[in-house]
Symmetry: C3
Subunit: 363 residues, 3 copies
């Protein structure tokens, strides 16, 4: 079950190439097949560069339109040459004069923003661009944002829970993003996050005071150096996770706002798109402000996400297998479930509301 | 669901080797495991060369007889040494004097014809060799027929529909068997095939007038050369597809019988055998008459089928996945569904008739 | 369905390493994930070397404990750092003062014996070490036992049946463990085993008189040499199979106890552990007494098991596929089903008894 009236991330803008060869073949990335919240979607650019997202399923006999050919603003199906406009309507059936009205595919509202491509999977009338979460993309002139992506064979819900509580930095990521020493563990697990709820999002703010640097950054600093890690996260349904992250030299205090020197100010923007109940696509970035960046830092940040998310992937895939084996296994709750609990509660509320609306629409 | 009373193709004759080593091992192809219409079948040759097809399932505990050993006219099971004659009856249980009557495996009528091996999956009493479709095999002295084969993870029904309408030559095969230029597309999609129906087959005849050569043959002809493509197809259930195909130099006319020079006269014989609901084995050939062949042509024809059927495979496998996801998705019919519609109607009629007969036999 | 109150084999002792690195990573084999009779189990050694087996499923959200870290006598979960003692009780939830009583994982009785690790999957109160079958391990000073292991994608029941009748040595293993010549086949298939039944085991004794050596040993003996093969097998549920095997030079007689020279006295100890309904782990050994061993013999014996069990694997996996396709296919029984029949009857009796006890416990 996935929310319908929501913007889902289809990937980075550079994944969808505008070019269209003159000949018969077309370049990689011209027609991109995605599975988003259980729906087959083909995403491509018009010659103007404008993005289009439509159902990846020819209305004739369900051939994959993503195997076809871009033609003008539309797509021609590879199987029998039916041509569809960017509005999803068939405008040519080779060898046939009339075109049945039903010969059309669903078109999804799609928006490019912050170098991300967003697809609206619900009622187009409700597709409000203002609902797209704020992000800082690789094209932003003030930040050196680097990007990457990954697929994970685990439920969307496990990803939401994973992102809604970062105490796992000192456990899963004890050799990458976080650290496994005693001080780090004490500092990270004793945080008292401030949660602010929105109808489809949760903001989480806290500072980890006086902690060592991440293991992947320790070679940059003198031994024993301590920092204040300042987290400000906006986590939006279905699953966009945007963190404004700052590191300060520790001022020796364990309370209050950091007052030490700002070492780095960064944004990491992450989107998890469910393919189906058992897998997700994950698009993410990290980068420092140009004023705090130095050569190699931003790429180091983003490369480390590849390592760290591979650690998550192994953990979540093993967890997913076990949850499928025992869907009704009893659960023990712990203090750090506050964030995950709030986000999954929000998700379930949205799903229930949508189910109620659908039932009312029928009645 | 597959017709029972039908000849299914088990492959080319050379796939079943007669040789039997003196020692313990036996040569590749001695005992060939097939899955035909959901049934496990082991196919082999007696020392005389005669082909045998029997259930690939020992009646003791379902061991695979195809892992056993040829012995005389029969097979010895690898597991406990039970020996079965070519009639499927167990004639030895090592260590045991009496042989239960039930110790036998089903034997399928099998015929070699035109270098193909045909297996009858229904009532042996109805296994009439005259029902085997006409074909021109690689052993025919008047034709240079070359052979190949492929497996596809798609439904048998999708393959039938694919073969029953060749307009996809200018779409799926626009870079191989067909061509993607405007003239080719107009000529191919405006054909008016003549269909002739038989109880278990459909004949389709038409000429594509004044079209460029197939892309894979274009290097053989001067630019701008046009041809008349003469198709005469016999498509038989479950799925044999035999095309007598001729190419003539275009006489400039768009109607009537071709009157230009005969460039090549060819036969392509193709058989699609369902393994189960989700996969098929595909055995095919193509070759020119000795009178129109020239060095390399027939091999070029058949090699191109490998390329073209790989294109089909990609398309049909994507279509199959989508059809499994949405079995009740609405369909839009188009003019070129005439052939596929007739063949699938015929298939469904045969299935219904067999179901009715089975019900009557029970009552 | 698997017996619960039974010792299952988790592998050889050397598969579980005691070492624990000082740093963050730990050595291979520190925490070993197993699936035993459908349950996820993590097996490891305490610093003392003592073996622990517990549920491989954190009670918080089903993370895999086997991905965590050994810490003292217990395990720390990789996800949120919950720490469990060797008794399965959570003794630390980082960031939280109280620990819910339900925060514990199931611990399984576990015993090391004869270099094997045994896990009890049922009621701990019934875990009697005396029920562990007798075996001769690689650590036994009087025998040169060599070890190996394998996984097979087939049902546990097929493995039991396979081990309960060795006449397949002259069929499946005709080029390895057994031989395929006429004399071997006559001798092996005409055996009259003596079966002795126990509540959860079957002893099988017989001598194959005057047979050629196994094919894999034939290079060691003059052509035409004949031997008496003396089998004494204890086959215990769920599936331990221990054979005291002796070879004597044939005394020319076909009845009575062997009186020829003892060529080799060996033990082969084998344990088949069901992972789930479709796969097993197989741990096995073979070796000669030090008094009859000569350089290379014991390793040759055990290496040959790798070859022979690969032959079994191919046969059983094909059989398993066919049995899943046709679970109700009629079966024909033969004389050599006596052993398999008795063992499967014993298995089904134990399963029925356990089901009855479970029903009574509920009532």
């Amino acid at each position: 079950m996935f929310p319908k009236n929501a913007w889902y991330n289809a990937g980075w803008d550079y994944m969808f190439t505008q070019s269209q060869k003159n000949g018969l073949t077309q370049s990689k990335g011209s027609l991109v097949a995605r599975k988003i919240a259980g729906e087959r979607v083909v995403v491509y650019r018009k010659p103007t560069g404008q993005i289009v997202a439509m159902e990846d399923r020819c209305p004739h006999r369900q051939a994959a339109l993503s195997l076809g050919q871009k033609e003008g603003d539309g797509i021609r199906c590879l199987y029998h040459g039916m041509r569809f406009g960017a509005d999803g309507k068939c405008n040519e059936i080779p060898g046939q004069e009339t075109i049945p009205e039903r010969a059309c595919v669903r078109v999804f509202p799609v928006v490019e923003k912050d170098n991300w491509v967003w697809v609206w999977m619900g009622d187009p009338a409700k597709a409000d661009e203002k609902l797209i979460p704020h992000a800082v993309g690789p094209g932003d002139p003030d930040w050196n944002v680097k990007t990457s992506h990954m697929s994970v064979n685990a439920s969307f819900r496990l990803e939401i829970a994973n992102l809604a509580d970062l105490t796992h930095l000192v456990w899963i990521h004890k050799e990458s993003l976080g650290a496994g020493d005693k001080v780090s563990r004490e500092r990270f697990t004793s945080i008292k996050p401030k949660f602010t709820m929105f109808p489809n999002a949760m903001r989480t703010q806290y500072v980890v005071r006086g902690a060592p640097p991440s293991v992947f950054l320790q070679h940059l600093f003198p031994e024993g150096a301590l920092f204040d890690w300042d987290f400000d996260i906006m986590h939006t349904l279905p699953c966009t996770w945007v963190l404004h992250f700052k590191i300060f030299v520790s001022d020796g205090k364990l309370e209050g706002e950091p007052t030490g020197q700002l070492v780095a100010e960064t944004w990491t923007c992450q989107a998890v798109t469910p393919r189906d109940d058992d897998s997700v696509d994950y698009y993410y970035s990290w980068g420092a402000s140009k004023s705090t960046d130095f050569p190699g830092l931003s790429q180091l940040l983003c490369d480390n996400l590849d390592d760290a998310f591979s650690e998550d992937r192994q953990a979540l895939e093993a967890q997913h297998v076990r949850m499928k084996e025992r869907p009704n296994h009893p659960m023990v709750d712990i203090i750090h479930d506050a964030g995950p609990g709030k986000m999954l509660w929000l998700l379930d509320k949205v799903l229930k509301d949508e189910a109620k609306q659908a039932a009312m629409a029928v009645a």
